[in-house]
Symmetry: C2
DNA sequence: TCCTTTATGTGTCGAACGATACAGAATATA
DNA sequence: TATATTCTGTATCGTTCGACACATAAAGGA
């Protein structure tokens, strides 16, 4: 069974990639169909036929982002040899990805739909869940480190995971504001400078 | 010379405060005139007569934010007895302000206009400059600490300032995602755990 | 070749956007 | 009281939004 009907005259994958970069640069609400038509070089009926609606197109764009840039950032979470190396690599690769020449700065998942407006509740919620997933992934990597004896059992690892997620998300804003790759590397280094104090501190000493 | 003409029938300051909270919750682009009319309980011609246009109203809202919530956060920058205490207080007060019950979560300056769309370039640039000002303020406080002998001359204080600004900005996103005040306090504690390592490290040792 | 199927380009839909025209109402001054 | 001045409510401006109707074009299958 082969393809029926008139064949598509544009490259769906390439058009999706261009849509992703527009959403990435301007956010979900900040991107109009006119923007997408111009960037994808495809008329709106063809966009609707191929992707459904603006929200569905955004979801595909997010999936593509997670499979490419996002994968490069969070892949280290499973491949790195230690919990500490995993966190350090996530921060450093984030610094690289957030300042890649010719690409939008910062992270689509973080900057894509921060506000919940009239008709973007589903999109906003999805990105929020993806951010929560990243946090969960980081926390589980730390717990694995504890289980494997790499890390002590005392510290509040949830708080520490929240801290590193906070830094990683803050880097998106810094990147948007023009921070250089070198500056973000330095931020990562500063965050890792806290590791020694955090990984050894006891839960019963103050807020940690 | 007294007031001429029909007097205003609404409280300008109270209406501005309500407008600020809408902008704070929904961002500049995410807030429509309809939202403002509903929140301020003032019809649009009266809004335009009193504030000019949507952008001018937003600017006044930002000024009000800086005078109130923003002032509480960054006031410590000058009042705290040491550079370290200044940073710690900024982070802790941020955690408080970003999770104040009944108020929008996070920071208006950070979340108000992250993307630069069609007609918000001026607003976007203004918020960006205010973020840069905060960074500058923090860096100058660190330099003052060096000048006064509190801090050593070796470390890359600009990188360290960028780090703490990154954490402070990341807390806005965490707050938006529902992080508790306690969780943000823990983030602040983690960030301060890096202080010892940062404030003593030499510039010629690696990236710092 | 005819029919079915799918994609394309033109044009446009109702709704919401930011912003005002206008007439009437409420005040100070003359 | 008469006039000038300012604010208020209704109603609407032109534009842009996301989405789609429609006729036509281009392919496979009979």
């Amino acid at each position: 069974m082969t393809e029926r009907g008139r064949p598509r005259s544009f490259d769906r994958a390439a058009a999706l990639r261009r849509a992703m970069e527009v959403f990435w640069a301007q956010g979900y609400d900040g991107t109009s169909m006119s923007d997408l038509i111009a960037a994808m070089n495809v008329n709106s009926p063809s966009i609707y036929a191929a992707f459904g609606c603006k929200e569905a197109l955004f979801r595909e764009a997010v999936a593509l982002y997670r499979a490419t840039e996002g994968g490069r950032i969070w892949g280290a979470m499973t491949t790195a040899p230690s919990a500490r190396a995993a966190i350090e690599t996530v921060l450093r690769v984030s610094a690289e990805e957030f300042t890649r020449p010719g690409k939008p700065r910062g992270c689509l998942i973080v900057l894509g739909a921060l506000h919940s407006d009239d008709g973007n509740e589903a999109v906003h919620r999805e990105l929020q869940e993806l951010r929560a997933e990243n946090m969960k992934m980081l926390l589980q990597r730390l717990k694995r480190g504890v289980a494997e004896g790499e890390l002590p059992d005392g510290p509040d690892w949830r708080a520490i995971a929240t801290f590193y997620i906070t830094v990683q998300q803050g880097m998106s804003i810094q990147a948007r504001d023009g921070a250089s790759r070198k500056a973000l590397f330095a931020v990562a280094d500063c965050a890792m400078a806290a590791w020694g104090g955090l990984a050894s501190c006891r839960r019963d000493r103050g807020a940690l």
